[in-house]
Structures are given as structure tokens and as C-alpha cells.
Symmetry: C2
């Protein structure tokens, strides 16, 4: 059916074909308004035959609602963030909202630009990853007049709402775990810039935790520019084994680098955890599948997304409670001890 893909059809075309007013067609496409069921079906049918597709851009302008929730993440190619977005998106889709996703490549200047682009699309709310942003980005978010949720972090000075956890605190947990196992010479493999602010927070957390135990925190291996890949993790492990062979354990900034490190050990015949223990972060699937399984920290990425979605829906629907103050939801991360430690 449907004509050739000529000029796009509008409600007017449908209205004429159905011998009703445009307004009636409009009603036939909304569920809550009053049209007789007969006309609605007739109009729907005619619209379908004409190949009419509803035009949201017009509706968005008129109603001043886009049903978008904007989301920025550092990278699309990261299972942790993907899980968060997935959970967020699932929950929002149930409420008829769509996620408008953009990624910053771990670059704050890029993030600022993205935020501006996203706000131009007039999202109903915006979710950003991390708690550090450029001044202009912060200002734009603050002035946007929509709910702002920072995730994957516990910012000292939140812009709006927060669903996250302290990355530094997770490293205290991990160092405690290793010290309890009797280890004192503990290294850290991470990025050598602060591009990944959460990774940098974890590095700082490692240092603080070591100092709290009265241990030296000089075994820092820079694995490259974030994000650190498996391959970079492997290379960094090589350097660690070469330069500080007496290291008893190494904490990697993520499970991916941890797995790279583990593979490097296997390649060299270094026994894990016999010769050296390895820990990661993120509870990626690989940590529980590889042999031996990797001790890690589960930051509950899906929970972050689900909680952010719930919060947003509450804020948007709770017409009365608009004045509700900024909420901080702290996510209960979990240390998952496994075979590498």
C-alpha cells in the first residue's frame, strides 16, 4: 500500500482522506483523549494506508515536551556504562521516554560541548557520568531548569541529584581485603592522566588507603591514556614484573586491565595468586569467567541506571513535589573476592 515516498504526509493529508478535522486526527493518535472508537480505528487505518508517520518534532514544539532524557557517558564501548544506560533506558521506555545518548571520550571539553548540544534538544532531564565537569558545563546544567543527575561518583559539590558511590572508598575496601590476606607490597595499575576522573579517584583512594595502613604507595604503574585497555593492562603488568618483582599484589583500575595483567602473568608463567595477586574493578563478566576468576568490586551498574530512572520519573511526575530538594542515592558497591587474591 502507501504511495511512493513522495513528500512526507501530515495530519492534514490524513484528515482530508478521512473527512474529519486535523484535530480529530490528532486525537486519534493520543490514547487519553476522547474520540469515538470507530473514528479512531478508521483514522488509524487510513493513516497507515497513506504511510503517515506521526511527526514528533511538531508535537514537541507545541507541547514543550520531548520525552527525551539526555545521557552522557565517557565511552559507549564499556560494559559498565552500557549496563547503566541499558537499565536506565529500559525503565524510561516503560514511561514512554527515550534516551538520547552521547559520549565524551573521557574528555571534559568534549563533554561540555555535548551537554550544550543535548540541552538544545530540550530533554526532560539529563544524566551525566561522573562528578567533575567544566565550569561552563556546570553552569549550563544548573540553569537548564530540568532534573540533573550525576552518576558513578559522589561529587563534593553536586549540581543536582546524585546516584553513585565513592570510587576512592572502593579502593579502601580493596586494600583492606589484600592487607587482611597478609599483603603489604601492593601496586596499582591505572591511567597516567586524570582523563578518567573515576579512575583517578580510585588511584587516589589506593594511595590514601595504603597510607592509612602505614604502607608505601609508590608502586604506581601508568598504563597509558584512559581508558586502559586489556592490552595496556598486560603491558603495564610486564613493566611491574620487570621493575618491582617483589610486588605481592596489584590492583588494576578495571577488570579489563586486570585481565590483561593476568594474561601477561600466564604468558610468563607467573602464578596467580601464588606469585602475585591481582584485583580489578567493575565486575565485568570476564572477571567471573576467566581462570582463575578475578577479585573485583561490583559497583552495580544496572542498579545505578535503574535508580536514576526511578528518580527522574518521580521528579517529572511528582507535579506537586517540584520543590523536592536534591537527592543523593548512594549505591552499595560490593567486593567480590575470587581466585586471583
Amino acid at each position: 500500500m502507501g504511495d511512493k515516498p513522495s513528500g512526507a504526509k501530515t495530519m492534514k493529508d490524513v484528515a482530508e482522506a478521512a473527512n474529519v478535522s486535523v484535530m480529530t486526527v490528532s486525537r486519534a493518535f493520543k490514547s487519553d483523549t476522547s474520540v469515538s472508537e470507530a473514528t479512531r480505528l478508521r483514522i488509524r487505518k487510513i493513516a497507515d494506508d497513506l504511510g503517515y508517520v506521526f511527526d514528533s518534532t511538531a508535537a514537541n514544539l507545541r507541547t514543550q515536551k520531548t520525552n527525551f532524557v539526555a545521557v552522557t557517558i565517557p565511552s559507549i564501548n564499556n560494559a559498565n556504562f552500557a549496563d547503566t544506560v541499558d537499565a536506565l533506558s529500559d525503565r524510561l521506555a516503560g514511561a514512554g521516554m527515550q534516551v538520547l545518548l552521547a559520549y565524551s571520550g573521557y574528555d571534559m571539553a568534549k563533554e561540555e560541548e555535548l551537554i550544550e548540544q543535548l540541552l538544545r534538544r530540550r530533554p526532560e532531564a539529563i544524566v551525566v557520568t561522573g562528578g567533575r565537569h567544566s565550569d561552563r558545563a556546570r553552569r549550563m546544567l544548573r540553569n537548564a531548569g530540568i532534573p540533573v543527575v550525576e552518576t558513578w561518583d559522589l561529587p563534593a559539590d553536586p549540581i543536582g541529584h546524585v546516584v553513585g558511590f565513592s570510587n576512592a572508598a572502593t579502593m579502601h575496601g580493596m586494600v583492606d581485603h589484600l592487607v587482611a590476606k597478609g599483603m603489604t607490597r601492593i601496586a596499582f595499575i591505572g591511567g597516567d592522566t586524570d582523563g578518567d576522573t573515576r579512575g583517578a579517584d580510585r588511584r587516589r583512594g589506593y594511595i590514601a588507603a595504603m597510607q592509612r595502613h602505614g604502607l608505601a604507595a609508590h608502586r604506581l604503574i601508568g598504563a597509558g591514556k584512559p581508558p586502559i585497555s586489556m592490552r595496556e593492562g598486560a603491558a603495564a603488568m610486564g613493566r611491574l614484573l620487570d621493575t618491582m618483582p617483589d610486588t605481592q599484589a596489584v590492583i588494576c583500575v578495571s577488570d579489563l586491565s586486570a585481565f590483561g595483567a593476568l594474561s601477561e602473568c600466564q604468558r610468563r608463567g607467573v602464578n596467580v595468586p601464588g606469585d602475585i595477586a591481582i584485583a580489578g574493578f567493575g565486575a565485568y563478566e570476564i572477571a567471573g569467567v576467566c581462570h582463575p576468576t578475578i577479585t573485583t568490586i561490583d559497583p552495580k551498574p544496572r542498579l545505578i541506571g535503574a535508580q536514576a530512572a526511578e528518580l527522574i520519573l518521580e521528579l517529572l511526575n511528582g507535579a506537586g513535589g517540584e520543590t523536592r530538594g536534591p537527592t543523593t542515592i548512594e549505591i552499595d558497591w560490593q567486593l567480590k573476592a575470587a581466585e586471583t587474591t
Copy 2:
């Protein structure tokens, strides 16, 4: 600066504050139009101080351009598709276009719904993953009046343009590789439904390739509902080892399941490739990092994205050549032999 987040500012507010017409403000925000540099800067400054953010929804309606390219992928949590989207998105961002991403969860009915939702947003073009779609989805795409690109496949009856490769053909390549190594008892681990159509095509390709070599293709292990995870790959390998211990090689539907299979072997003390060879698909990073490295097929995900982007930009900009016929770009996948075979 900026006032309290009161009602959103419009160009009118800026115009009044700057004592110019709305039109002049509009011009100050486009780069190609004629405004004196002095006024432009003055207006920009005032707009910034007011906390004004350009409203795309209005511009979209008036100009009938959204600068969106819609993209559907089966899952966001898949490094292959993430790479394609990343490359696509990078290239399009350079041309001022944004990607509107949606994922179908390997479900054709869901995909149909997504396509409708996406088309309502009036994208300039749409990129879908795979060459199989519901009838209604095909009809909507055909009537959309915008460039349609199917990827990651070579559909028999394309809707519009194609950037992909034959999933079945890759399995012929892989079986040939294993047979050349002297193996004849070759198994396949994949999904047990056709939800992942590309995975199903690979399974069919394996069967056809085996038959072409005069070999039995009965060693089919169903690992679960697609997508097959590492864990499911491991479980499937366990069943394969238990039930057909004389198997010489196994092809897995993806590197993730292949890695799971490899880990299961290591856990059981089965030597790879000594006792059994393992092959995957996708050239995920893990295939080149784990020990031993996994033989795989590189479908060049980033190339798919980049080529799709190029094609779209050509189609949209080539004002003259609108009548350009449907293009099919075949991607040159590559078999990467490694240590597991």
C-alpha cells in the same frame, strides 16, 4: 551570572535584551549568515549571560531538518556494535549530525516498534543492523523517504543501501581453515533460537561449509537464547566435552562464547589447541589478549560504521545525485589465525 532557572529563555528574550530583532539573533547563531561581527559577538555574549540555550525543536520544525541519524543495534552491550556506532557517530559528528541510538534486544517485534518511534523523530537517515525485519518494519523503512542502510549482513532483498558482509561466508572461511589444519570433527556452539539472525546465518554457514567438505555437521551445541554470553559459552563447552569428547575443533558464534569455552577447557585441564581447537568471531580485544590467543574473524566493525557514515553524508549532500541507485558496500572480513587453532 544567569538568572534563576525560571522559564526557559527564547530568542525573543535575547532580542529584547540586545535591542535587535529576533531575526538578527537567529543570524548570530548561524555561522553562514550575514551579521556584523560586532553584533554577533554582542548578541552571543548577552545570550550567554541570560543563560539562553538554542532550541533545536523549533528549528527542526521550521527547517524540516533534525540532523539526526537513527541507528538500531541489537544490544548496546556488545563491543562489535559499539565500535560500529562509535565510528559512525564520529564521522557524522564532524558533519554536525547526531546519532539517535536504540536497541532491540535481538527482538524483531521490538525492532519494528523502535523503527516507528525513531521515524517519528524525523531522522535524516536510518541505519539498521541486520537484513531481516518484520514486514511492517520493511514497509515503514521503504516509505520513510530517507536513506536506509542495512549493516552487518548482505540481505537477499535489500530495503535500500547495504554496508555488510555474508555471515555465512565467514564460516566457510573458518571451516576451510580448520580443515586445512587436518581437522574433520568440527563442532559449533551458538544460540538455540534464530533471535540473533547473524548468529543463525553463521550456524547455517557452518553446516553448509561442512557439507561442502563432505563432513558431518551434527555437532551443534545450543548454548541458550541469544546473545550467548561467556558463561553460556563455558557451559556449552562443558556439554560438548562430556558428550562428544572426540571433537577436534569447535567454532563459537562469537569470541565471547569462545573465551568462555576456552576458560572451561583450562578449568578442566583440557589442552587448547592440543586436545581441541577453538575459534570465535568478532575480533574482540579479548581474543588477542587471552592466553592462548583465539583464532577469530574480524568483521571490521569500525569500517562498517565509517562506510555507512560516508555513504549517508554523500546521499544527503549530493543534492544532484538523489537518484543514485541503492549501493551495496561489501566489507572485506578477515580471518585472524591465532594460538587456539
